[in-house]
């Protein structure tokens, strides 16, 4: 699968706890990320940022990158 690059654009649609956790991991609006792996059937998405790999749910991923 081709690796795709995204810029995170909005944390507004997320629930507070998820947004807080992403912040804690150093992710913020405007951060560049790379998608490493997507699972079929809207399964989780693995993203990479600053040498760390993070697994997210599909819904969270789309709301973070929707405007693309």
């Amino acid at each position: 699968m081709a690796q795709q690059n995204y810029i995170l654009h909005s944390f507004d649609c997320l629930n507070g706890a998820t947004a807080a956790r992403l912040h804690d991991m150093g992710l913020c609006e405007g951060c560049p990320i790379k998608v490493v792996q997507k699972y079929p059937f809207h399964g989780p998405v693995i993203i990479e940022n600053d040498h760390q790999r993070i697994g997210l749910r599909y819904a969270v991923f789309t709301s973070l990158t929707e405007a693309e």
Partner: protein
């Protein structure tokens, strides 16, 4: 006596470092949330106490184990803080470091996993980091035992360290608000200036624990301004300043290394194990191999050898010795048929259980567990849980008590409760001895497969109940699932051994205490009857009790009083079922018990009994943990009642349907 607190992000190697620094051992794993309670040890060769706190991403807790850290810092005054970080992910690790530095204790910043960073092709100038952050900085590779001595020396000289003083340049508006609030806190509530400043900043950053604290203590200078702080988005601004500071600091300290840019091991392994199509099959295969190792290839042969040794030489030597001493028959029976048979019978399963624990430790240490959480998240989502509940459930295979404790890492309270309630259906290792015994007696050619099917049934029931609770508790889709995938580590033998021993030592300890006591109790019940000491246990109290209950158990195929009486003792601890059987059949030989069992039970009945044993009431220790973690006796009692009903129902259906085919 000095105290040093270890604080850091999850998965930065805090516990490994803790184990290298201290005499006492604490448990390590390569996934988030291994340390669910704080652990304590003393620095080798000194009386300095080191406290290993659970990993946290920030001081604003989302989970129960994260709250442990914030509460610790609010109510204790460590003499020094060792802030352990993952050198390759300093950007996000330093977010926590800033919060810790602002608190004003002496801090030593440890850049752990420095080897991973160097492999990625660069390094940090420690002097620049020390100057900008205002604290000691040192690099280690805790897994490779490098740099540990330096940390040890710094810790011993804790008194020479200056308190950290990091004053970030927040926007003027925030600076002024901090000044006002902290002056008032110092004057009206007599906090120290540093703590007052920290409290103000944390309050502005919307730390939930600090908000609660402010309300309890009625900290008016903060509470009165809360609306203003929120309207002006102080929290976001503080976060931005911190992140910018970190980026600048790291940029100035970063130094490229030449010629070490190799393709990463982690990426290569991840291509396979987190593959969208192969991920799940690989996961199933890994667990299949784990069971094969424990019950076919390695564990069972070793267990058999140990059993022959206990039931043969040990038992007969003691018997002869007692006969020569002229011990009375009742005493000889107690020792040989009671204690050696019961406790020894359970001890013979040590190789199998340790093998299973070694496999679980290996998976934890390598970093696979986080991937397992990821590949299973989609399935877990369907039953209203998330992949994170999965790790505690796997740990539940070892022991339900530790599984329930590990469920503290699940963020949503409802999801945590569901995970706790379904935990007893995960077949813990204490139930293994009885499975092993029955499969050897009734299904000698398909041992691993039958045991696996029992485990699988447990999982299915657990998932079904989870779905039921999801509907019952009306769990919404707002759960948090952000899982960090750590770099893979080459497993280290010493860490795996420590993990195995840590999980398994409880089993040996139980053999000496509760299993011993249960065995003696069973021996008494099965050796005495209305007519006093009886040689034939069919005339004993245990037999009477079992016979009374035969009508209840008949619909699930159980008509032998021995099995029914043994079930009762299983509530003490599941291992006791096996020892009870040994005692009631007056034998210390597994082979003899297997032969006698197969005489008066059919494979169908045996399997129905296994189902019942898998699902019926949790053991005492698990019940106590359920009570502690849910904070209610109601849930504990509910757990007993619901599991009894489910166990009976499923065993009943299985037996009745089975009879139609095989009856």
């Amino acid at each position: 006596m000095a105290t040093v607190a270890l604080i850091g992000n999850p998965n930065t190697g805090k516990t490994t470092l803790f184990n290298s620094l201290t005499d006492k051992y604490a448990y390590v794993g390569n996934w988030t949330g291994v340390t669910v309670e704080k652990k304590q040890g003393t620095l080798k060769g000194t009386d300095i106490v080191i406290i290993d706190l659970p990993g946290v991403y920030s001081l604003d807790p989302l989970t129960k184990d994260e709250a442990v850290v914030t509460n610790y810092l609010m109510h204790n005054h460590p003499d020094m803080i060792l802030n352990v970080t993952n050198a390759s992910q300093l950007k996000r690790n330093l977010l926590l470091t800033i919060e810790v530095l602002e608190l004003g204790y002496p801090v030593v910043l440890v850049l752990n996993m420095i080897d991973d960073l160097r492999r990625a092709g660069y390094e940090y100038d420690l002097d620049i980091l020390e100057k900008t952050l205002g604290c000691k900085v040192t690099a280690t590779n805790a897994r490779g035992h490098q740099g540990i001595n330096k940390v040890r020396e710094e810790t011993i000289r804790y008194e020479a360290l200056h308190p950290a003083q990091l004053n970030l340049e927040y926007p003027p508006m925030i600076q002024q608000a901090i000044r006002q609030a902290s002056t008032a806190l110092v004057n009206d509530f007599s906090f120290s200036p540093q703590v007052a400043r920290w409290l103000a900043i944390q309050f502005m950053s919307k730390n939930k624990v600090i908000h609660k604290f402010a309300q309890e203590k009625k900290l008016a200078p903060l509470l009165n301004q809360q609306k203003y702080y929120e309207a002006q988005k102080f929290a976001d601004k503080i976060f931005e300043v911190r992140l910018q500071f970190i980026e600048e600091t790291l940029k100035s300290a970063r130094q490229p290394l030449s010629g070490s840019n190799q393709v990463e091991l982690t990426s290569r392994i991840d291509k396979v194990v987190t593959n969208p199509i192969l991920g799940l099959p690989i996961f199933v295969l890994i667990f299949f191999i784990m069971f094969k190792l424990s019950f076919d290839w390695v564990g069972t042969p070793l267990s058999d050898m140990l059993d022959h040794f206990i039931s043969g030489p040990v038992s007969s030597t003691v018997d002869n010795f007692l006969t020569n001493l002229g011990a009375i028959p009742a005493l000889r029976s107690l020792i040989v048929n009671g204690i050696i048979a019961g406790v020894g019978g359970v001890l013979a399963f040590i190789p199998q259980i340790f093998m299973l624990f070694a496999c679980i430790s290996l998976l934890e240490d390598s970093g696979y567990m986080a991937r397992a959480a990821l590949v299973t998240d989609r399935i877990m989502q369907m039953i209203g849980l998330n992949g994170k509940s999965f790790i505690p459930l796997i740990i539940g295979f070892g022991c339900n008590v530790t599984g329930i404790m590990a469920a503290r890492t699940v963020e949503q309270p409802k999801e945590r409760l569901i995970t706790t309630l379904i935990m007893p259906f995960m077949s813990c290792s204490a139930r293994l001895p009885i499975y092993s015994l029955f499969v050897a007696a009734f299904f000698p050619r398909h041992q691993a497969l039958i045991v696996l099917s029992i485990y699988f049934l447990g999982i299915v029931v657990a998932l079904g109940m989870a779905k039921f609770y999801q509907i019952l508790f009306k769990v919404k889709e707002s759960s948090v699932f952000v899982v960090e995938l750590p770099h893979y580590h080459l497993p280290r033998l010493d860490i795996i051994w420590h993990g195995t021993w840590d999980k398994g030592k409880g089993f040996i300890k139980k053999a000496g205490t509760i299993i011993f006591a249960g065995t003696v109790l069973i021996w008494v019940l099965s050796s005495f009857g209305t007519s006093g000491f009886v040689t034939n246990s069919a005339n004993s109290f245990a037999a009477d009790l079992g016979r009374i209950l035969v009508p209840v158990f008949k619909p699930i195929g159980l008509v032998q009083w021995q099995a029914i009486s043994a079930l009762f003792t299983g509530i003490l601890a599941k291992e006791v079922i096996t020892s009870s059987m040994m005692v009631m059949f007056h034998t210390s030989s597994k082979a003899f018990l297997i032969a006698s069992l197969s005489q008066f039970m059919t494979p169908l009945t045996a399997y129905a009994l296994l189902i019942f044993i898998l699902l019926y009431a949790p053991c005492f220790a698990t019940l106590a943990t359920i009570k502690q973690e849910t904070g209610s006796t109601k849930w504990m009692l509910y757990s007993v009642a619901s599991s009894l009903v489910i166990a009976y129902a499923i065993a009943f259906i299985f037996f009745q349907v089975g009879q139609l085919f095989f009856g």
